[in-house]
């Protein structure tokens, strides 16, 4: 009973955000296409040119990451107020993230397919490519297989992003003031300055051995993890599971503040 209510609450809590997101995407697409049509007609460009749209999967990934960032504090307090255990909250949140990722993966691919179909039928030269199509064009195969694989890929990517967002917000919830400042300022600083400094130190003091190590060990691992479609999907799921585990470790000792 609690699980059903908790899942329902979290899903319904997201519905407006998802709806508004797709409304914005739809409006932007319409606006872009109208602009392109008017520009091409005024420039007398005929239908031989192809207009390729992409980036929706990536945008959805960012969106679901931000949703993850915003979906902890309120639902955690509300769940505890209503006698829901942390375990049930964790499982239902995972189910919510999974259902949202699947729904958005499906809608994203439907969007790509419909835009491309409209482009073909109107002979306008419009095309919309998913991230999967861009990264693994050779795996697309026939439209049905491609559609299915793209949805699964979108699901894996979005689940990973949702869990990552949730992990970030939970980490900040658990940290004390000093920890928040250190992580909040330290991580961006490390990313901006740390890598160039590390490279400089490597060149100056280690004879580029760190770079060699990276090329010899890290690069092959990354190549293997994302080289083929199954490897990439599996890797994304492993990352999603690792973030989920991290989420659970943080949630199981979280208290109401």
């Amino acid at each position: 009973m609690k699980a059903k209510a908790c899942f329902l609450y979290q899903i319904l809590d997201l519905r407006w955000a998802v709806l508004i997101y797709y409304l914005v995407i739809f409006c932007l697409t319409l606006l872009t296409n109208i602009s392109v049509i008017s520009m091409t007609s005024s420039l007398s460009i005929n239908g031989e040119h192809t207009v390729i749209m992409s980036g929706l999967t990536f945008a959805s990934g960012i969106f679901i990451f931000i949703v993850g960032l915003n979906s902890f504090t309120e639902s955690f307090r509300f769940a505890l107020q209503n006698g829901v255990s942390r375990r049930t909250l964790f499982l239902t949140r995972l189910a919510t993230a999974g259902a949202t990722a699947l729904f958005m993966g499906l809608v994203d691919q439907l969007f790509h397919s419909l835009v491309s179909l409209a482009g073909q039928n109107l002979s306008s030269g419009w095309m919309s490519l998913s991230l999967f199509q861009q990264l693994y064009p050779q795996a697309w195969g026939n439209p049905v297989q491609g559609f299915f694989l793209s949805v699964v890929f979108g699901f894996c990517l979005l689940l990973f992003m949702a869990n990552a967002g949730y992990a970030v917000v939970m980490l900040f919830y658990r940290l004390n003031k000093l920890g928040k400042v250190l992580v909040g300022a330290g991580v961006p600083a490390l990313l901006i300055f740390g890598i160039p400094v590390l490279k400089a130190l490597d060149s100056l003091y280690f004879g580029e051995r760190l770079r060699a190590f990276g090329n010899a060990v890290v690069q092959p691992v990354l190549d293997f993890a994302f080289h083929t479609v199954p490897n990439c999907m599996f890797s994304l799921l492993v990352l999603a599971a690792l973030f989920a585990l991290f989420d659970w470790l943080l949630l199981r000792r979280a208290i109401v503040r």
């Binding site: 009973m1 609690k2 699980a3 059903k4 209510a5 908790c6 329902l8 609450y9 809590d13 309120e74 639902s75 307090r77 509300f78 505890l80 107020q81 209503n82 006698g83 829901v84 255990s85 942390r86 375990r87 049930t88 199981r252 000792r253 208290i255 109401v256």
Partner: protein, 282 residues
């Protein structure tokens, strides 16, 4: 059927909020959880409902540990000072969601009670004034129909009329279907006539636990001219004395011997609030 708190301790940094607290809250009783500011009342209620974790000890509800246990947690409802409802949630939505989480929640009763309190059900929960925020939470707590209802400062910000309505409604609900109520409050005089059992917490430790009547019958008050009272108190276990002009009231532990009471002195029962002050004062 009871909530058993066994040797629970909890610290916040250097502050020991609860120190080996053991309390049993039995089925169908109204408890007064009394203590001064910072005594550990809210901490205890938060530990009970698994909102915070004790460093040691255990809490069970009807024999089941509360830790990460939906079934045990479902039997309790904590009305806390802290607002745990989402920012954008309206009162009527909160009622609807409470019904989802607590199937026995009586929506009709909640709507009627909200109307009696003149609570705006279209208002957002977080925008309510302190008094109406308490009213909203009380309305949910009195409609939720769980076996254990825990009320932390339930009348915070309520005017006298609303407090009276709350006490009357609580008694009426309790009479219809007895359930365990724990009232944590500073307004001891107001709840003294409601509570059956009392748990007094002081500096994180349970100072006294038991029937309110038993507690009050452990002593008596003697009032009269100062000199007479002082003479009477010799050799007696005196809890405290209040003096006003030439009159003195003394609070004494034990059974009064009415036959040897000097003329001019009056005997009366102990007052819960006075007893509490004497127990928890310096």
């Amino acid at each position: 059927m009871s909530i058993v708190i066994n040797q629970v301790s909890k610290s916040f940094g250097p502050v020991r909020a609860l120190n080996r607290v053991s309390v049993t809250l039995e089925e169908g009783k109204i408890y007064g959880l009394l203590g001064r500011n910072g005594a550990g009342k809210s901490t205890l209620l938060n530990v009970l409902t698994d909102r915070i974790f004790p460093e040691e000890g255990s809490v069970t509800v009807d024999g089941e540990p509360v830790r990460d246990n939906d079934r045990a947690l479902s039997k309790m409802y904590l009305m806390s000072e802290k607002n745990c409802y989402p920012e954008s949630m309206r009162v009527k939505e909160a009622f609807r969601w409470t019904k989802e989480f607590y199937p026995d929640f009586d929506q009709e009763f909640a709507w009627n009670l909200a109307a009696a309190f003149e609570l705006n059900t279209n208002a957002k929960v977080n925008k309510l004034s302190t008094g109406y925020s308490s009213i909203f939470k009380l309305t949910v707590a009195l409609s939720v129909n769980t076996p254990y209802v825990l009320l932390d400062e339930p009348v915070l910000g309520l005017d006298a009329n609303h407090r009276d309505l709350f006490y009357r409604t609580l008694l009426s609900r309790y009479t219809q279907r007895p359930f365990t109520v724990v009232i944590s409050t500073h307004l001891i005089e107001e709840v003294a006539s409601l509570i059956e059992d009392v748990v007094v917490i002081h500096k994180g430790e349970v100072l006294r636990q038991g029937s309110c009547q038993d507690l009050l019958s452990q002593g008596y008050t003697v009032t009269g001219p100062k000199g007479l009272v002082e003479e009477y108190l010799k050799g007696k276990n005196v809890l405290g004395v209040d003096a006003l002009g030439g009159l003195e009231s003394a609070y004494v532990l034990g059974e009064p011997d009415r036959s040897s009471l000097p003329q001019g002195l009056e005997l009366s029962g102990l007052d819960l609030q006075k007893l509490f002050i004497l127990m928890t004062g310096k």
